[in-house]
Amino acid sequence: MTSKKRSKFGQDNLAGFLMSLPGLLLLILFVVIPFLTAVFLSFFNVDFNMVGGPKFWGFENYRRILVDPISSPSFYKALLNNFTFALIVVPAQTALAVLLAVMLNAKLRGIAFFRTFFFMPVVFPMSLVAIIWALMFSRDSLGMLNGLLNLISFGQIQPIDWLGDPNIALLSIALLSVWAGVGFQMVIVLAGLQEIPHELYEAANLDRANAWQRFWNVTIPGLRNTLVFVVIITTIFSLRLFDQVYILTQGGPIDATQTVMLQAVTSAFVEGNVGKASAITVIFVLIIIVLTLIQRLFLKQNREVK
């Protein structure tokens, strides 16, 4: 990663310190302090309207979120949705990213043009993309997807309630998310592919390996670290799921698309419950930290194997 050998240039303590200071201060002010505030507030009974100020009540917010028989099921439902979503999206998006990257790694004329188009959905704001998909997902025959299914099945497939059916809504959100996000992972995999020494393929060719064997025995092992990285990134992105569900379903139908982030935001800005929202936030960050640690272990093992 970084060069072990430091430059002899710039022994100047002060200049380096001063140059990193603005960025550091801004990060402390707008990232660290807000988070510490959230940790602090998570131990209080506090909301936006509270008359008489916040009241300390220890772990009550955490008890309600994690233990209380009436209020905790909704949190676990949200967490379950997050993980279900990740379980759908991570394999699907990673596999698709590899497939697309392999396609784009060919030395075809105009391949850069295709790369750019494949990447296009990534750069468009989810808030706008979701509005387009809301119409495609429309449950009556006006919906583009239903119209398409109807057309290709000669009217055999009945209109699907993409966002209104509790059994389908999360899948629909996953479909939209994969569409919107796969380009990013694809480009990372593509970069990984180009790092695989070409000789390995040539050697495999000479061994009469077919395309499938080359893929499994050369491409996939060569991509190992890239894939670990992609899987981790995608997992964290899918845990942060918010914009799509906020715009399209608001967590419904019957909590089928409720997510942890959505719950934090709803608690804070609909119910005005700052303490609860902060506690959800803290739990969420802890989950991410645990996942990141697992990732580091996993990556280390991989390096040792190499």
Binding site: M1, S7, K8, F9, G10, D12, N13, A15, G16, F17, M19, S20, P22, G23, L24, L26, L27, L29, F30, V31, V32, I33, P34, F35, T37, A38, M103, A106, L108, A112, F114, R115, T116, F117, F119, V123, P125, M126, S127, L128, I131, I132, L135, L142, M144, W179, V187, A191, P197, E199, N205, L206, R208, T226, F242, Y246, A268, F269, A277, V285
Partner: protein, 317 residues
């Protein structure tokens, strides 16, 4: 291994085994598979573009035509009518601003302009702050440096949107509620930006170059400005582009902090279009179209550089 080594290895392999390729005179493999490849590539391109195309179809046809079965798949004649509706619907007749009758200085375009202003300021600021900090972390020596680097990487784990509550209070203290400043100030720097610039500068700037400059007697700032910046300008551009796009992507925060339409960004303006219960597909799509068109245009010009930049970043990271 070097190129020479690998080619000799290939030769060695080739000489040990009889040539197995059925027809050595055939065209290279990649050209043989091209018809199928092109078909697949075109299909995926179609899937990538289709929703945007569909948005334009709906926006240009209006509700009635879309309600037909099967729906129309070609652009219709009502595009400008629908756009005018978007302007009308966004126009709350605030006397301080333009009206829907004005094709340029109306509220929706005003929101677009706000978004561009915020995006540009944020992009420039992020590149600047990230580059100086990244340079200091990668190439300078000072006390506390290691700790600072670990600190920056650590803050990357904290999702920024989770600090929204405290940020609201801060914005109040700074009297920035309902202003573009509330969108700009908290976004001046990101941990990712600093980390990325550190990686880039570390990889792209040889120490010898800096040492030579140091012998010349150039000061740190001068070296940064006249040696480092020109070399990393491609990567800086990509970071700026990402920051710009991230501003367009930010949805929740502008929605929470802005209440006056003169400060609306385009995400909020589009959101206002759906405040009515009756679903006006054409209106929504028209708004989405106006909001995405500038990005589409930008993407045409910089899309390739962006993809290249992400690939470079992925290899280095």
């Amino acid at each position: 291994m070097t190129v020479a080594q690998s080619s000799s290895k290939a030769k060695e392999l080739a000489s040990n085994k009889p040539m197995k390729l059925a027809n050595p005179n055939k065209k290279p493999k990649w050209m043989r598979m091209s018809p199928f490849s092109y078909l697949a590539l075109i299909l995926v391109t179609f899937l990538s573009i289709f929703p945007f195309y569909w948005m334009f179809i709906v926006a240009s046809n209006g509700n009635e035509e879309i309600a037909k079965i099967p729906p129309s798949l070609t652009p219709g004649p009502r595009f400008f009518t629908v756009i005018q509706h978007v302007y009308d619907a966004s126009d709350h007749a605030d006397p301080a601003f333009g009206t829907s009758a004005d094709p340029i200085f109306n509220n929706f375009n005003h929101a677009l302009l706000n978004t561009v202003i915020v995006g540009l300021v944020v992009a420039l600021a992020q590149v600047f702050f990230s580059a100086i900090a990244g340079f200091a972390f990668a190439k300078l020596n000072f006390r506390g440096q290691k700790f600072m680097v670990v600190f920056v990487i650590g803050t990357m784990m904290l999702p920024s949107q989770l600090g929204v509550l405290a940020l609201l209070y801060m914005m109040k203290l700074m009297s920035l509620v309902d202003s573009l400043g509330a969108l700009i100030i908290p976004a001046l720097v990101t941990a990712f930006g600093v980390f990325w610039m550190r990686q880039v500068i570390d990889a792209q700037i040889p120490n010898e170059l800096l040492e030579a400059a140091s012998i010349d007697g150039s000061g740190v700032l001068r070296v940064f400005w006249s040696i480092v910046m020109p070399i990393i300008r491609q990567s800086a551009f990509v970071l700026g582009l990402f920051s710009f796009l991230a501003t367009w992507n930010d949805y929740l925060w502008p929605l929470l902090i802005l209440s006056s339409e003169q400060n609306f960004t385009v995400q909020v303006a589009v959101n206002q279009l759906k405040s009515s219960y009756a679903i006006d597909y054409a209106l929504n799509m028209g708004g989405a179209f106006l909001a995405t068109a500038p990005l589409l245009l930008l993407f045409v010009f910089v899309g390739r550089r962006l993809v290249r930049g992400v690939m470079d970043g992925a290899v280095k990271g």
